[in-house]
């Protein structure tokens, strides 16, 4: 098992460098570069623009830039952002954490609600509860999350029950830690709910489907025939088999932890990575984009690896060696 994990991690290195090269090439062959906005400003002369090009090494060939970037990466440096003139890690450090907090909250909310809901719907197949859940799932699935976010914010502005966006209150510093936690949860509520409603609907349906399939199996019938209680049959025999495909899904979800929330972050004023990366891509702030691609890549690889390992733990039939 551990040998397998090690091998997977070893393969990840060329994969990441490949992602980096591809990003570099794509950023370069699409028209324009970071200095285009400056170029359109009458206050900047050609000489000044040339000076910027030198400063950012944009006048050097693509391959040279790539090699420099890889060299820096080996020293664990991610380069400087053109836009901000500060090292990339200083800009994204805090924001990664913020996005992570929001994504994790949405993730926990999704899984903690969707799995039991799916099971319950499956056990009450075609009864009223199931029908109601499926009906509302349809609505939730077709509601774009940013729209839901807007509605929730409007509701909050009318009732004053929750803060309108942001992550902390202005006087956050003066609270003790329970106060800070409550403050954070209050600010989390709207974006996390807006993010997870759609996923709950989707995941719940998958869970219900899997559960129904397993419940139709012969061994479930056998278990019932042995006189096991309904509870034991469902949770001990059916659930463990039904949840297998979801574990794979979990790995993918992990990789999208840092990238899935951009729109909601913008609407709810959550100080995360989303809008930062959006502007970085649009303004061609290459090293900032590279950093985000790398993080996405690393998370994807780790997420898949974790999913594979978890799968092996959950299902004794799976072996990697």
């Amino acid at each position: 098992m551990w040998r397998y994990a090690f091998k997977r991690l070893l393969v990840a290195v060329p994969m990441l460098l490949g992602i980096a090269l591809l990003t570099f090439v794509l950023m370069r062959i699409s028209p324009g570069n970071y200095l285009d906005t400056v170029r359109m400003d009458p206050q900047f002369s050609k000489e000044t623009i040339a000076r910027y090009e030198q400063l950012y090494q944009l006048d050097k060939p693509l391959f040279y830039q790539y090699v420099q970037w890889v060299k820096n990466l080996l020293r664990l440096e991610l380069g400087y952002s053109f836009y901000y003139n500060v090292p990339v890690y200083k800009i994204i450090g805090e924001r990664i954490w913020n996005t992570f907090v929001l994504s994790l909250a949405a993730f926990l909310l999704t899984w903690c609600v969707a799995i039991p809901l799916g099971i319950w719907a499956a056990l009450n197949r075609n009864r009223f509860a199931d029908r109601a859940i499926q009906f509302f799932s349809c609505i939730a699935l077709s509601l774009p999350s940013f729209f839901l976010g807007m509605i929730l914010l409007f509701w909050a502005s009318q009732t004053g029950m929750l803060p309108l966006g942001g992550m902390h209150s202005p006087d956050y510093e003066s609270f003790g830690w329970p106060g800070r936690l409550v403050d954070l949860l209050k600010h989390l509520a709207i974006p996390a709910v807006a993010l997870s409603i759609g996923s709950i609907a989707a995941l719940q349906r998958i869970m219900r489907g899997n559960m129904l399939e397993v419940l139709g199996q012969k061994y479930i019938l056998t278990a019932h025939a042995k006189g096991l209680s309904q509870r034991r049959v469902v949770y001990h025999h059916a659930l463990r088999n039904a949840i297998n495909p979801l574990i794979t899904l979990l790995g993918y979800e992990f990789s999208s932890l840092l990238s899935g929330a951009a729109l909601i972050e913008i609407i709810c004023g959550w100080p995360g990575l989303g809008s930062l990366m959006l502007t970085a891509v649009r303004s061609k702030d290459v090293y900032l984009v590279m950093a985000s691609m790398m993080m996405g890549g690393v998370l994807f690889i780790i997420g898949n690896l974790l999913a594979d390992i978890a799968l092996a733990k959950a299902d004794p039939r799976i072996r990697y060696d």
Binding site: S30, P31, G32, N33, D36, T37, V38, R39, M40, D41, P42, Q43, F44, S45, K46, E47, T48, R51, Y52, L55, Y80, Y83, Y84, N85, V86, K90, I91, E94, R95, N98, M150, L153, F154, S157, G160, L164, G165, G166, M167, H168, P170, I266, I267, C268, G269, W270, P271, G272, S275, L276, T279, R282, K284
Partner: protein
């Protein structure tokens, strides 16, 4: 507690007149917020006006304390005033830094600021500035001539530091000589006469004692980035940055060392804090304003009908500050050049013949339905633009230029007389020497306003019998086409204007790289472009403002006559402000909060 007049008779303001014609990228979620301008204490005519105001308005007390909470749509990119490249930075630096002179928000005239007076030599080349002696940096250090000399010689003229200030203060590759005469006197020696010099002296001055070592070590380009401890950022302005939470808020506190005094001689500013919340979505910003979190909010035309009726209930007032500085316009490619690699013409020669034909451009100008654009795009809150300097430019604005009313029949007549007729009966007109009048029209996809304007214009052009292929491009793609590949036919874009015409020289002089319809000409392609070159060359050397105005009036007339750029409309600047501030004096040039140090919170709102 400090007694103060409610109506302050004569406030002044300083020039942070940067960008005459900066391209604006306005996406659906971004929006220019009005920058705060700093103000100058009262020097003139106070004694004359005081009795009137005492009698007409009962004196009320300005009080210290309280805060102003506003919103901005994007994070600052840097706190480094010299290397900064865009406006989200000047929002911050305008509160912290000041220049030797300032522009009055009411009259747009240049006035003293950190310099209390100046002398000019007869030939107009030697300027001696006498600095105020009571100015301190916000860390308590005294402000002296050394700081001014340092800012120019070590920062702006430093070859290793790229900045647009260097381009402003360099004339024909020659820099100014800046030297200290004594601790509070600085002398500037100019290579040639330079009319915008005094306004340009609104350039922020930075502290030598904080930055000298950093510059010596070559680290200045990466200094005062957004990761800096706010305490390190030292200026002379009315407020200090005390806190920056990325993506959330900027907090400013009053500078206890601020030199400006109220008219009774008390310290300024009154407000304890200014807070900028970073709210990326304009819709959420509006919700926050309605809810009462924000004290002021820039409205879009579409918000107006919903917000205006709520004024009383919400305890706020909507101010209409008149037309915006930023223009939206249409222009055609008149570049006769060829691609040096492929040998292809940038514009097919038969199309170039139309685009360089003034009658063709006139017909197009008559086909632009400005009223409809104002109605649809600006929600009826806009102004038609004819002159290249918008009316917000004040002194240099020339209202007396050729106007092109919306008249499709007239446009058709002009086209017919110029030889554009539909000869083969396919519904599309042909040029005088043949060829269907079909061209592509681009704008940047990020601006919904421009996309809307383009579709209105396109409809009318098709009524004239032209075939217009419209495409919205990504901003970078459009810029590449305009500045390096030159392969485009017609474009709709916007530039933000200013009050100093000379700062538009890169757009209007034929050698400029932003002379977009035919950039970087070796010698002027037409007589009128030659004349505009002359006007800009003369105008920059003419120190008599009135004689300058005559010159720039002519330039505006020529542009309206020749139509290299066909203007559309200017949107109205609308700003809603909670009714709790004293000394609030919105002006067209300065915006709503141009005098943050004078604002105070009224008694009844406390």
């Amino acid at each position: 507690m400090n007694p103060h007049l409610c109506l302050n008779p004569c406030p002044k303001l300083r020039p942070r007149q940067h960008n005459n014609n900066r391209i604006r990228v306005r996406g659906p979620l971004t929006r220019k917020s009005f920058s705060l301008k700093t103000v100058f204490p009262l020097l003139l005519s106070v004694s004359f006006l005081l009795p009137i105001f005492y009698s007409s308005a009962s004196a009320c007390a300005a009080q210290y304390g309280g805060q102003l909470i506003l919103a901005t749509t994007s994070d600052p990119k840097s706190f480094n005033e010299i290397t900064a490249k865009e406006t989200s930075t000047s929002l911050v630096t305008d509160l912290i830094f000041e220049g030797l002179t300032t522009t009055n928000a009411f009259t747009t005239k240049v006035e003293p600021n950190l310099a209390k007076s100046w002398d000019i030599s007869e030939d107009g080349l030697i300027w001696t500035f006498h600095l105020r002696e009571d100015v301190r940096w916000n860390d308590g250090q005294p402000f002296t001539a050394d700081d001014v000399v340092f800012t120019f010689n070590k920062l702006i003229y430093n070859p290793d530091i790229p900045s647009s200030a260097r381009d402003i203060f360099t004339i024909d590759d020659k820099t100014f000589t800046v030297e200290k005469v004594d601790d509070h006197t600085v002398r500037f020696v100019l290579p040639v006469k330079f009319a915008p010099f005094l306004r340009g002296m609104g350039q922020a001055i930075l502290p030598k004692h904080k930055l000298e070592e950093i510059v010596a070590q070559g680290r200045f380009n990466f200094t005062w980035g957004i990761d800096t401890d706010p305490k390190e950022i030292v200026g002379t302005g009315p407020f200090n940055l005390v806190r920056y939470d990325p993506g959330q808020r900027l907090v400013f506190e009053r500078n206890p060392y601020y030199w400006k005094k109220s008219i009774e001689g008390g310290p300024l500013p009154y407000l304890e804090k200014i807070i900028y919340l970073i709210v990326q979505s304009t819709d959420v910003g509006l919700l926050k304003f309605m809810e009462g979190t924000l004290d002021g909010y820039a409205l879009r035309g579409m918000d107006y009908p919903m917000i205006k009726p709520l004024e009383k209930k919400g305890n706020f007032t909507v101010y209409d500050l008149g037309p915006d500085m930023g223009s939206q316009f249409l222009f055609f490619n008149q570049n006769p050049g060829k691609n040096p690699n492929s040998g292809e013409y940038f514009v097919a020669p038969y199309k170039l013949a139309w685009f360089t034909d003034r009658e063709f451009r006139k017909a197009v100008a008559h086909a632009i339905d400005k009223q409809k654009i104002i109605e649809i795009v600006n929600n009826k809150l806009g102004y038609p633009q004819s002159s290249t300097m918008g009316s917000a430019a004040g002194f240099f604005y020339n209202p007396d230029v050729a106007e092109y009313d919306y008249d499709l029949d007239k446009a058709k007549t002009i086209l017919r007389e110029a030889g554009f007729v539909d000869r083969d009966g396919d519904g599309v007109i042909e040029g005088p020497r043949g060829g269907r009048v079909e061209f592509s029209l681009y704008t940047n996809a990020g601006s919904t306003d421009r996309v809307d304007i383009a579709s209105i214009i396109r409809q009318d052009l098709e009524r004239l019998g032209m075939k217009v292929n419209f495409r919205a491009l990504e901003f970078n793609t459009l810029v590449s086409q305009l500045t390096s590949s030159f392969q485009w036919e017609a474009v709709i874009l916007g530039l933000t204007g200013g009050i100093e015409p000379h700062f538009g020289k890169n757009v209007w002089m034929s050698s400029g790289q932003l002379h977009m319809w035919y950039p970087m000409q070796e010698k002027p392609a037409t007589d009128w472009e030659k004349r505009i070159d002359e006007i800009f060359t003369q105008g920059v050397q003419e120190l008599d403002e009135n004689k300058r105005k005559v010159l720039y009036d002519e330039y505006q007339r020529i542009v309206a006559e020749e139509l290299p750029i066909i203007y559309t409309v200017l949107s109205a600047r609308l700003y809603a402000v909670r009714d709790k501030f004293g000394n609030l004096k919105p002006t067209s040039y300065g915006g709503v909060f141009h005098n943050p140090e004078e604002l105070y919170i009224k008694e009844e709102s406390r």
